[in-house]
């Protein structure tokens, strides 16, 4: 059986992110490289955050699904360079996050205005209002901040732009 990296990528598309199951680990941007050698495959993944506890789960999930697909040897390696960025999340996946109730990262990491104290406008994923406020830079997981909508009053997670 011949496998191309593209075929493997389509298999990995079926693996949901362990904490945000509406997007796949491919859409999350953590799959960095795929090498196939006969029935052996090596997948390189990169962590979203250094301490992200989901990385071990992602590693196990990748191994499990590829074994199930008939690969005898599956090696999952962690790479750090280049560091993960939310810029790798495609627009379709951002829309999925929004529908799930998580405000997706706004714009790109090239926008550094928040460093000088300016806060970017984050739209409420429920009512799309721009009248929202930052509650905390740190939220329910490492990758999220906590916001609240001042119109519909819904508190929500914002996927930090890094």
């Amino acid at each position: 059986m011949l496998h191309s990296p593209g075929h493997i990528l389509s298999i990995l598309q079926q693996v949901p992110d362990p904490e945000i199951p509406v997007i796949s680990i491919v859409e999350l941007g953590v799959i960095r490289d795929i090498q196939v050698n006969g029935s052996a495959v090596e997948v390189k993944i990169t962590p979203t955050y250094s301490g992200c506890p989901a990385m071990k789960q992602i590693e196990d999930d990748v191994r499990a699904i590829l074994k199930k697909e008939g690969f005898e040897e599956v090696i999952v390696k962690t790479v750090f360079d280049p560091p993960w960025t939310t810029d790798w999340i495609p627009e379709e996946a951002k829309e999925k996050l929004r529908r799930y109730g998580i405000a997706p990262p706004e714009h790109t990491t090239q926008d550094k205005s928040w460093l000088t104290g300016k806060q970017k406008t984050v739209l409420c994923p429920r009512c799309r209002s721009a009248n929202t406020q930052l509650i905390s830079q740190f939220g329910s997981t490492a990758c999220k901040a906590l916001y609240q909508c001042k119109d519909c009053l819904e508190p929500f997670d914002y996927f930090k732009c890094i």
């Binding site: 955050y49 301490g51 992200c52 360079d81 905390s136 939220g139 890094i162």
Partner: protein
């Protein structure tokens, strides 16, 4: 060479590990929910960085030890974390002052380490910079609030600065074993980052209307594995479970 690299990476890992352990003590005890979450997140980032460094240290050592072995089965004298990282949390002002000192330190340390000739170290550093940038913003905003808050919060922040300042010089000490790594462009020249750290921290102290401590006797010892009494207690808590049940699986 590889022994020097092991020592260097181990020290980077120990520094983050012990600070993360201290920060995690706040989990469930934060002054309010959002801060509890914030500190737990910062602890998690810091622990993640520690894990990356210790995994690499174990690999460089090549004696079959793992990151867990390094974290849980070494004794006090075999840890090389700076003394400031092991200091007890105290009140929230003290934790935040310690965090300002360390966050700004890590920011400049990792910015330089990101240029290291060692690609693993530079990769870990590039990853950590993004996280530390958030940490600095968090701790600096608290310092400013404490300093300009009530008389009580101002006094507590000043007391914390006065107490912790004696551990700051040690952060910039370079052991002899690092000279070779420095020449090879692997290690960071700590003297270079000291000036940047001072400028940045001075500015934060000024904005908070606090006073920078002067003529302080500077403590040292961690480069030789000599610690304050607090590390032993910290390790006892951190290590007791794997030491009691070394074959336990998560």
């Amino acid at each position: 060479m590889s022994n020097a690299l092991f020592q260097y990476t181990l020290r980077l890992g120990d520094s983050s590990l012990i600070l993360a352990q201290r920060l995690s003590e706040w989990t469930g005890h934060g002054p309010f929910l959002e801060e509890d979450l914030a500190l737990t997140n910062i602890a998690l980032d810091t622990l993640g960085t520690a894990k990356s460094f210790l995994e690499y240290a174990a690999q460089v050592e090549g004696k079959g030890r793992t990151d867990d072995d390094l974290a849980f089965f070494r004794n006090e004298r075999e840890f090389f974390n700076p003394l400031i990282t092991e200091q007890p949390n105290g009140d929230y002002a003290k934790t935040m002052v310690r965090q300002v000192i360390m966050d700004v330190y890590h920011l400049y340390l990792y910015k330089e380490l990101a240029k290291s000739k060692d690609t693993t170290l530079s990769g870990i550093a590039q990853k950590a910079i993004k996280e530390v940038t958030y940490h600095v913003r968090h701790s600096a905003s608290w310092l400013e609030r404490f300093g300009n808050g009530t008389d009580e919060s101002h006094q507590r922040a000043q007391d914390a600065l006065n107490e912790l300042w004696q551990y700051t010089q040690e952060l910039f000490e370079t052991p002899g074993s690092e000279k070779e790594l420095l020449a090879q462009g692997v290690a960071v020249n700590l003297q270079d980052i000291q000036a940047k750290w001072e400028t940045h921290v001075d500015e934060l102290i000024r904005k908070a209307n606090l006073k920078k401590p002067e003529n302080v006797f500077m403590q040292r010892g961690s480069l030789d594995g000599i610690h304050t009494e607090h590390l032993g207690y910290l390790l006892a808590e951190m290590q007791h479970l794997p030491r009691m049940h070394p074959t336990a699986k998560w």
